[in-house]
């Protein structure tokens, strides 16, 4: 089953919904709306972890050796947005790139969990596009919040799928299309630290709670995106997340008319 959080146009309430095969959503009261008729929100609420350099090929692309310990950083709700929303490219920068990632949604409180037991704590999977603005990279707490936690720069969704609906999360194709052209392709089998390792690692020093999300890193194939671009990230068997790049001025206009 696919689970999402949405808002209806002009309403403030957030609805937890189930998503049908045609991507229409089903509210608890039985009402049904088409994919295009609702505002898609991030599918879960909790602490968001993200992984840097967790695909060996991507680490090489950035001229890094793969890390010996997971390179974990955190995101706040400020940066999150949903399916079919926009992301803002700041003015006067030279390089903003997408990152297609598999996201693990935690389903049970996890502390000191072993690798062997780790998958018992997974509720399901989602997809995110972990955009980065490389111009703002400084060598402090790298990657820093100014690069990775900007308003609208972490679309996530459209939904999360139940763990048991994904037969092997360690063998899923990730793909990114920009304006219909395939730009990035990889496979979760190339992760440096796999899902059970990451859950065991994080829970060895902190408690994970239901709703927490772990964005597991991106493979090679990065490229610049500009206002007007349509960017789609897809994880096989999980979902396909659509996003459009806008300029700062276009975003300000949208906020005024919303």
């Amino acid at each position: 089953m696919k689970h999402a959080r949405i808002r209806l146009p002009g309403e403030a309430d957030i609805h937890a919904v189930l998503v049908n095969d045609d991507h229409s959503v089903q509210l608890a009261d039985g009402r049904r709306f088409a994919e295009e008729a609702v505002e898609w929100l991030p599918p879960a609420e909790g602490t968001v972890f993200a992984l840097g350099l967790n695909y060996a090929d991507h680490a090489a692309e950035l001229a890094f050796k793969a890390p010996t310990e997971p390179l974990v950083f955190l995101k706040s709700p400020a940066t999150l947005t949903g399916h079919r929303q926009v992301s803002v490219r700041p003015d006067n920068i030279t390089y903003m790139h997408y990152e297609c990632e598999l996201v693990v949604i935690i389903g049970k409180t996890a502390k000191n969990v072993s690798r062997e037991q780790a998958m018992d704590y997974v509720a399901g999977y989602s997809v995110c596009n972990d955009y980065a603005v490389r111009d703002y990279l400084e060598n402090y707490y790298r990657p820093n919040l100014r690069v990775k936690n900007r308003d609208t720069l972490t679309p996530i969704g459209p939904w999360w799928v139940d763990r048991d609906d994904v037969a092997n999360p360690a063998s899923l194709t990730l793909r990114t299309w920009v304006n219909g052209e395939l730009r990035q392709q990889g496979n979760t089998s190339d992760m440096v630290f796999d899902i059970p390792y990451l859950i065991a690692y994080l829970s060895s020093f902190m408690t994970l709670s239901p709703g927490d999300m772990i964005a597991t890193g991106t493979p090679e194939g990065l490229a610049d995106v500009v206002p007007g671009d349509e960017v789609i990230v897809e994880v096989e068997g999980v979902g396909r997340l659509v996003n459009h790049i806008v300029s700062e001025a276009q975003y300000a206009d949208r906020l005024l008319t919303k």
Binding site: T47, A78, T79, K111, E138, Y141, M206
Partner: protein, 254 residues
Amino acid sequence: MKQGRIVLNQQARRVTALADGKLLLDNGNPLADSPQWLAPASGTVYGVALNHRSLLEQLEAEFQQPPYQKAPATPVLFIKPRNTHAGHGSVIALPTQAGKVFAGGALGVVLGKVANKVAVEQALAVVAGYTVVNEISLEETSFYRPAVKAKCRDGFCPMGPWQVDAAAIDPLNVEIRSYLNGELAETHHSRDWLRSVPQLIAALSQFMTLQPGDVIIPATPLRQLEIRPGDTVAVEIDGIGRLENRLIAEESAQ
């Protein structure tokens, strides 16, 4: 006014602390017993590293070398996630096999309004109030990679007991005192911060929208106050209050 959050019958409730020390529940009833405190705010907690001159001066030479190459040009930020949030009086479990653990006496700036690209001159208008924070951390030997393992352990960000209204505090003139087992152990002052509270609100809100209930920790000093299981650590700011927590060993907490 002093406003806090407590747990009563397994529910989070708001309380007001009166000038005589009495506590009133959100329904107006007085509270007889000393309550189980929660952090007074429940939004995202953003910390600012390397904003204290003592720390910056010590690291100045190192920052010209790899991997840093040059001193930071913008505020160095981190997040204290929800598992770290705790209240006044909470017992905090320290790891015993992970090296030294340090207290981090600090101010907490609690936002009251949505803040998006706020100018320095208008920045204090988005502040609802102030609280006391202990930004606990393992020793930091590097500022290159995010310090999640050092800073994001359960209970490593107690806040409280309450927040006071913004008008009660001048954030450009704050003295923060830390006590170990009742003895004054460390004092630091907002005049030693590189960037002020209004400058930080302006800088953060330039690229991410801050929400009511979010907290900014403007600075923590050079890590000198080591804490160990068995200790009681307190952080005090005049005009706000005293945040006290007892420390135990992680093994005995399980």
